[in-house]
Symmetry: C4
Subunit: 505 residues, 4 copies
């Protein structure tokens, strides 16, 4: 490797146009002139930093190595002499000032009573861009919401008069201890929500004895997140398989070496979904000069998701599993299975489990919720292979839409080993950093304790299928469209009112 | 027992700090310094009364003997010389003044047409704390509302051309006469709603010939409530079983001696539920100095429910029933059964009945409604034991969500002996005292008379299963999440309008 | 009968107190002193007219003979010398003035496009009392609205490529010709809505060739309504059976003599329902001095319904039918049957048909809709008696909730002979008099023509069961109560907006 | 044919009254005096142009030859000397000015992300009349909305780990290539939305390789639309069968000669539906002098639909199909089949396919959606005829309610050959002309690509029935009417709020 050049701020500053565009990221200088039109986020945002230091803008929305991996080596121009670079003074907009004020007004963590509360606060204190990226989902976001609704179609059948003085909801996930039957599932770009990004999750997970799944598209580097783990703290790795298999192999083997305990291969994302809230956000950034091109079909940015996912391999298929098994001894779990047919194929393929998931509703709208699929998977795998669940040799996980310990326990009753929770923890650290994640885990802990007592279940083994009523789970009804004329004519019953109130009417 | 000291107000007033904190309750002095951090309601509220008379604050939210039972004897310092104590002048807040005005504006009782109306008025005239405690329920309050909804999934099949000149809806509950197939179920802390607390219920029940179930956690003492009963007036006792079984035995045997006709052992509350509305209320009380601790994980108050329930024994189990049968001859009923499996165990255990109940939605969210469970219980107990219902030897009760006589009659048709009603009576006395409860009973009486005529049923025996259509009872649907874009684009049909109205549009 | 006295206005005017209270109605003087406390509408409203002419107030809300029938003969004091009576000057309230203005602003009839439209206008131009009486229903008005909803759970299966140049939807009802498969069902107190009361219906029915069912509780006298019929115009009679059977016999035999073609005996109203909107209306009238009695249980007025129905016999039963058959040769139809069991009893009892009806939702809440009951009746009568429908010997009618010809045709497809429509015609004449009713009939005529063409049915015989899909008819779902926290946190998708609109956000 | 007269503007201008009314359309003069009362749109609108040039008003709402076909030849008075005609100065209303402003503010096409977005913008920039005509549907517009809802009751079962690098969703429709499994279905009066009318569709369809179905009631002439097609571009013809069969024969044979590839005979419209939004629009035009006729039953205009459809033959029946087969070799498709029974008749009649359609909800309300019917058709045709689908010899199409590629793919999975899309393209060109339609096609293209990847389906053949869950498709539920008193009393859970927000409450 040749010795690296050192460039001065002044020199760089001259390459500030579409004709020649250099930018500084993390102290390195890159010539992105030819990349401008390929940038998934559009050229406009890059040109804003042409000849300048783009690190602050770059960081939260790109994995750490995005630029080094995607830009040919000859465009890596060298180091910058930091002292010679003029700081980019970021204008603070009115909106940003108001957001800063809202941050000051967050209620104390002790007033956060449930996982919903983090979302309410996060929505107010996150940047719009971060909120759009995290909260958005595919198409009309039907599946996003169905993920939560599905749990509401499952009801409990609680048992009484059982000694529940001590309740124990710790469990074992892929051979690793977990203090609760949940894990923190992989979500991308954590620094959009908080400067410490996914480190918030690592640290809180360590303290509370739960397992974190490290995402391929973390804002923090993989090693940072492993380094931050406590001794004995278990972590999993989520993998987007690269078109360049060597890159995947490198990551997987490095992970195994670093002690990662399970490999979750994402199988529901041959292409990352269209997420319109996220896409609309991008337009606002880009609006002014975009207008001029009206009338010409322009290939447009499709939000942060598309921006970071071009490397994912849409050709990934069942026959690749053999290769994965050849490169690692870690248990392999397929993340994103959505039918019993594929769960059956997975079991036959000899992997160690599946995550029944639709990617948080972010991929195919009208994909079913994991917990609905769970029921058919458990039934069919029993019929076809005689398996019973939970099953240590073929573990089933579910994620999507979880907000309460009751949601988790419904999945446990139906045969899941553990349940992944994603957005709620993102919102927790976006609103309150690591302490938010800890509070979230404490709340879940309290809820589990209470719920197991009230279910009459001293341990997770006591949470059995007969404790849930799933008769309505497959019901996907849309009420007959309303008769607006009839409904408008109908005069509602009135509740009793105070004398005064009546007088005023 | 040693002779009791008499302390002066001045002496007590010096113990007004976290270091030494004495308070006066009901003319007695207590040293609560060491108890401060254990107080389920937080230390702050006690410190407000340090060195002062706390009776007024204490009374409505604690059972009468809470302090004497929970504080070691050596902290009971003696009597206070009342003349020497300065009255605590309670500031009347703006909110309280407005509430007092609303009390003046209550509509006359004659305008209260149904049980819903009491709730509308109570909400306006109760203290926020009382409203929060009574109205709150577990988690997302899904079960709370399901309790009412479930009745709406049951429809009538009314019969015609039957002589209904005279209709009789009196019945017998555990051998006791009742003028209607309902009873007043146990609810805690009545003085939060009205200074006479549960006495309002005792008196109205006596006058109208219905049975009151006395709660373990009444604001009035057990004996007060028994003393207030008329000659021949029947009462039941609801029991939270104490970790110290002797305390339970004492209460049960005392109750039997005082003529109580049935023992309802609560089996759905090994721990009292998290009720977030109630919890939020507490934060408002405590807010200012709590802020300072932000960032430190603080174990927080969890509302009035938790405050009063630490004595409840989570180890209570089926094997305890034998002991209960050994200490009393009263009929024993298990309150809070939620599956046919447990109803079957109860029948086999030789108790006299069960209340199919989820504690008014206050314990486990997504527990099913009593009336839904009723259907499976009646069917399975027939299949397994050949029993038919209503059955004098094993009586089934239901509570939760009742607002109309139609609700009650649906349960009767399905085999219930009687139905418990709780909150509506609480709201009735909170809004109007004893007269409110009487009005509520009169309204129910009118509704029963009308409904039985319209069902073609001269007596309760004529209310049979074929009079109800329960085909939809097990349906727990959540409509597919709305298509917001489609719905927003759809332009609603417009009703006909006056010429003028159109001109303005 | 002794000769009638003639009294002077001055003499009457002296009896203007609770101690002695005389009133004038239709030129006759009555001593109502002893009746004051029995008046279902309360004494207050009578005392307002003590010593005065009460005709204007009396007329719309009482059947013509209410006072003569209910007051003992010795309280009928004689005639009044009209010239000596001071006119009661009725104050016109602000509300009434506004209502008069709204009447002026009614849209022209040509803009009324459907039956809903009459209701929209009627609501604006009727007196509040009339609106409350007509629109109200039992308890929570669930059945009222279910009546309409039930039709929305039935869908068509339209056939194509049939010659529908000419469509004929005339039919025969109890042997009488009808231009459409509907009839105008009986509704009480027509003068509340329009000074001509039920005459509006008689005249429009005559012109359009449909059959009117004359109500027992018409505001117009029976003979007036028969006299107003055209030659050959058919009418039916609805009968509330009187405790005094002779009174019923008299009416029935008189009706038969006057040419009435069918006797519809109401069997769903042993007592008229509690209708709370109507009851609340009464309180407003009575409010001021009622207040004083607060605290005392007062037996209160229960709205217009109760006021006019005390004579109805709750002992009416199956065994009375023989007697009815002995006193008339008119076809006898039982109006208000709500189960197949009672329809079967009716068929076996030898009557000529049943109306499957819940009295427009005004009697028992949670009674099923007629059209839902129709399906079970048709099926069971086929199973039990081998009958097919429509059946000339045992005709089935349905009423309740009809707003469109499609509603009617669904019932026809399922076996009904014809469908009763009530409130829409009431609203039609309340808003526009006779012309309103005619317009309503014209609209229905247009809808029938269109719908039959689109169903591929040239005649009513071609409307067969396979033309409707009733799979969802028995579904009575209530969605799981909403997760308010989740729903509030969810940020809705946004529709595309104009540049300007976005700028403003 | 005699030589044509040329008339002067002055001469024409004298015929400006109800007594003698001449108008100019497209440079020809017509005497419409006797036609005034027969004009489906009312006489008022014609009289506004009496003696003047009505072309601008006439054009968008009439097919090009409406006047020449409907007016007897002797009323065709001749040509006008254009130079002598005074231009009708159309007043621009405030509303129109505001509409023009909104047109300026349309967002750039690049911000239009989905098909819904076109509708949002079209609603704002179209004339009210055009919006009313396009958006309206039959009766209460239940079927209109059901068409969309039905797709939401069908859920996916996506498969994973299939190589989806290349996905191909091109297909063959009646032997013609299509780049996507959709076609642009026939909709009338395109010039209401855009001056180029249906030409926008022809041009965009050509560019994107999809097939346009030319409507009988196009605003552009048939030949214009054929002329605008590119070489090799396929078009279909939608046919309303004329009472005068020769007229239909002429059109069909001309179409075949011009290269039309399929004949879609509309069978669901023996009469065009009542569409009340459209009808209300007409009243506003006509309001002032209409008022005078109140009280007289006036036969009124029924909107644009009725105005253009009087020629349609309601006698069209199965036996006509033989004749159609005798006059053309084009494949014949029946458009508007709504039951399996009629699909079976169609297959037996030897036509080449059916469109399962309810005419966009514009004909019979409560007709089922095409996609629901599709399921029964596929099943029954298999049972009865052993056919499987998609079937090249008997192709099934579906239209109605489509907004997303997911909607289309659900129908494809169930056996449809292709899906018709109508209104979305209308809205696209009404808002943005041809470019709008192209953008709509691009969006669909993107969605298809994404969705097929996520379904694990490289080609349309891989989209199989087991990829959809249709268990809820036949569910047509209406929730039990709400308990308004209970719901009003229920106090919703509150989301977490900022300190400030709480202070304000």
């Amino acid at each position: 490797m040749s010795e690296e050049r050192t460039l001065s701020g002044d020199e760089i500053a001259q390459h500030n146009s579409r004709e020649s565009c250099w930018i500084i990221v993390h102290g390195k200088v890159y010539d992105v002139t030819e990349f401008l039109d390929d940038h998934p986020g559009g050229s406009k945002i890059i040109l804003k930093y042409a000849g300048k230091d783009a690190t602050e803008e770059y960081e939260p929305i790109h994995p750490p190595d995005a630029i080094t991996k995607n830009l040919p080596k000859d465009k890596h121009l060298g180091k910058v002499d930091e002292r010679t670079v003029k700081k980019v003074v970021k204008e603070i907009t009115v909106e940003e000032k108001e957001r800063q004020q809202r941050i000051e007004l967050r209620p104390p963590l002790t007033e956060i009573l449930n996982l919903h509360d983090f979302e309410s606060i996060a929505k107010l204190v996150m940047s719009e861009k971060a909120w759009a990226y995290y909260s958005s989902a595919a198409d009309d976001e039907i599946t996003l919401r169905e993920n939560h609704s599905a749990f509401h179609r499952i009801w409990f059948r609680p048992r009484v008069l059982r000694d529940v003085t001590d309740v124990d909801f710790s469990t074992t996930v892929l051979g690793q201890k977990s203090s609760m039957p949940i894990y923190i599932t992989a979500t991308a770009l954590g620094k959009l929500g908080h400067p410490d990004g996914e480190l918030n999750l690592t640290r809180a997970a360590g303290k509370h004895g739960v397992i974190q799944m490290i995402p391929t598209l973390a804002s923090c580097s993989f090693d940072e997140l492993v380094d931050a783990a406590l001794a004995g703290q278990s972590q999993f790795l989520q993998l987007y398989v690269n078109k360049d298999r060597e890159r995947s192999k490198e990551l997987v083997q490095h992970a195994e070496k670093r002690g990662i305990k399970g490999l979750f291969i994402t199988v529901d994302a041959p292409q990352l979904g269209r997420r319109e809230k996220d896409m609309r956000m991008k337009f606002d950034d880009a609006a002014p000069d975009e207008q001029k091109k009206e009338g010409k079909e322009v290939i447009r940015d499709q939000g942060a998701a598309r921006a970071i996912s071009t490397f994912i391999d849409p050709s990934l298929s069942w026959k690749d599993l053999k290769w994965f098994k050849s490169i690692t001894k870690m248990p392999i779990i397929l993340k994103g299975v959505q039918t019993w047919e594929d769960a059956l194929l997975a079991a036959k393929a000899g992997v160690q489990g599946v995550v029944l998931s639709n990617h948080g509703g972010r991929q195919l709208d009208f994909a079913p919720s994991g917990v609905e699929v769970l029921i058919e998977v458990v039934q069919k795998l029993k019929e076809e292979l005689g398996m019973t669940f939970p099953n240590p040799d073929f573990q089933i996980f579910v994620d999507g839409g979880v907000r309460r310990a009751t949601d988790v326990l419904k999945a446990i009753a139906l045969g899941a080993t553990a349940v992944g929770i994603g957005r709620p923890f993102l919102y927790a650290f976006s609103a309150y950093g690591q302490l938010g994640v800890e509070r979230a885990l404490t709340i879940l802990h309290d809820e589990f304790e209470m719920d197991m007592r009230l279910l009459g279940a001293p341990t997770l083994k006591d949470i059995v299928p007969s404790m849930v009523d799933t008769k309505s789970i497959t019901s996907h009804v849309v009420p007959v469209p309303g008769d607006r004329l009839y409904d408008n004519n109908y005069e509602s019953m009135q509740i009793a009112r105070l004398k005064d109130a009546k007088a005023k009417l």
